[in-house]
């Protein structure tokens, strides 16, 4: 791996932080300190009073595994499509490019793994995607990457309890990497990479709404 490039690219990245879009002018440290205070309150009020996921699931089964994995594959198609186009259009430079190329490889590997897990009986549809200038404009690229990775982390976390044990492991091995992507992307964006002690899981409906809200799915 190319560690030196990463160090170089990080060095010239703007350290100003804007977690919520409303705190311009704060230094990174100040913004992070602020979000820690908020995080502490969330930890107490959120995690303990029901922030941990509630379950509304039926008993895991192979049939349910297939439905869940097909659904998670749609999330991976969106991500893989995004980074693949970034690489193809070649407009990004420095660590953003490096991020997009590496993460793109990994998202395509997730697509392959899920397609393989689903087997030949399944014929998932690839969505038609249009990313506009989010794949070429560096100011749009990184917030979009953060958003897509957050959607994936929440989607996987929401589905993990619905899966049989072998597929729980499949999903955990992937969501861990999605969480690394979001941590990396947020640090690149000067945002707190881990603003809450627990990642809120999303239901399928919430994930679908978030994916549609990106406007990328045609």
């Amino acid at each position: 791996m190319s560690e030196p490039l990463i160090q170089k690219a990080t060095a010239n990245h703007d350290p100003a932080v804007d977690e919520a879009g409303s705190s311009r002018g704060l230094t990174r440290g100040q913004a992070i300190a602020g979000s820690v205070a908020a995080g502490g309150a969330l930890a107490a009020a959120g995690i303990l009073a029901g922030g941990l996921p509630r379950l509304a699931v039926s008993k895991p089964s192979r049939e349910q595994d297939a439905r869940v994995l097909e659904w998670l594959l749609q999330v991976e198609y969106l991500q893989a499509g995004f980074y693949t186009e970034v690489e193809r259009r070649g407009a990004l430079r420095g660590e953003l490019r490096e991020f997009a190329v590496l993460v793109g490889q990994q998202e395509r590997a997730h697509v392959n793994a899920l397609e393989r897990a689903l087997g030949r009986n399944s014929s998932p549809k690839r969505p038609a995607l249009d990313f506009g200038d989010a794949t070429t404009d560096s100011d749009r690229f990184i917030p979009t990457a953060v958003e897509l990775e957050e959607i994936a982390v929440a989607a996987f976390n929401g589905q993990v309890p619905n899966l049989t044990r072998p597929r729980v492991m499949t999903a955990m091995k992937i969501v861990s990497v999605e969480a690394r992507h979001v941590g990396w992307a947020r640090d690149l964006a000067g945002r707190n990479p881990a603003p809450q002690p627990a990642d809120k899981p999303a239901t399928q409906e919430q994930t679908r709404a978030a994916m549609n809200a990106t406007g990328f799915i045609q």
Partner: protein
């Protein structure tokens, strides 16, 4: 900097099976409590959000192990924050991640209810005031914790516990990516993160000599070690 591995931190031989002993000890403690009956269940029901089925013995053992690991991380990052000797980016990291690990402690204590254990005592032996050592150790702890939670995810009996561990697991992976980025290591080196065993985590913890005493309710004592 070359990629950090567990071995970077594993600088002394393993001394005692601190954490193994700990879980063995607490497991015995659990059975003792189980005889008393519904006390823990009642306690759990007193907290409506956590009114879930009683944890199985296996889930209690897993959660207690995780609780100790969270205690260790929360204490280490909290001490680094208090001392303020590490670099500015690492200090930001310790502030945010320390708060998250304290949140994890509260969450796991909530899941365990009366079965929660107290924190061991720690001595971080200068690691919390040395930027390089702190970073290396933090990378190892965060990578290993994320890997361990995968193994536990397929071991736990309760899907409530599974859902909870999953929502903590991805936060540990965020921490790992962030500290790696600070260290100039690829934050996401592989397309799939592999699981690891509890034994490996025990070896890492032992190798650091950070755990100086373990709360006990009974049983033999091993000679304390002073490092």
């Amino acid at each position: 900097m070359s990629d950090l591995t567990l071995e970077t931190v594993d600088r002394s031989g393993a001394i005692a099976e601190t954490f193994d002993e700990l879980t063995a000890g607490t497991r015995a403690d659990f059975f003792r409590k189980a005889v008393i009956g519904g006390t823990a269940l009642t306690a759990a029901l007193e907290t409506p959000a956590l009114a879930q089925p009683r944890n199985t013995a296996k889930d209690i053992a897993i959660l207690r192990f995780d609780l100790n690991l969270e205690y260790l991380q929360a204490a280490m990052y909290g001490e680094a924050e208090r001392l303020g000797q590490i670099g500015p980016r690492t200090l930001d990291w310790s502030r945010v991640v320390g708060a998250n690990e304290r949140g994890h402690v509260r969450a796991i204590r909530g899941l365990l209810g009366r079965d929660a254990v107290k924190s061991p005592s720690f001595n971080f032996r200068g690691v919390t005031e040395d930027d390089r050592l702190f970073t290396e150790t933090a990378v190892a702890f965060e990578d290993l914790t994320a890997a361990l939670l995968k193994t536990q995810a397929i071991q736990v009996d309760s899907r409530h516990v599974l859902a909870a561990l999953a929502s903590l697991h991805s936060v540990e992976a965020r921490h790992a990516a962030w500290i790696r980025h600070i260290a100039g290591i690829v934050p996401s080196a592989d397309a799939f993160d592999e699981p690891t065993s509890k034994a490996k985590v025990v070896r890492l913890v032992d190798s650091t000599n950070f755990v100086t005493s373990v709360p006990r309710t009974k049983g033999r004592r091993r000679p304390g070690y002073t490092g």
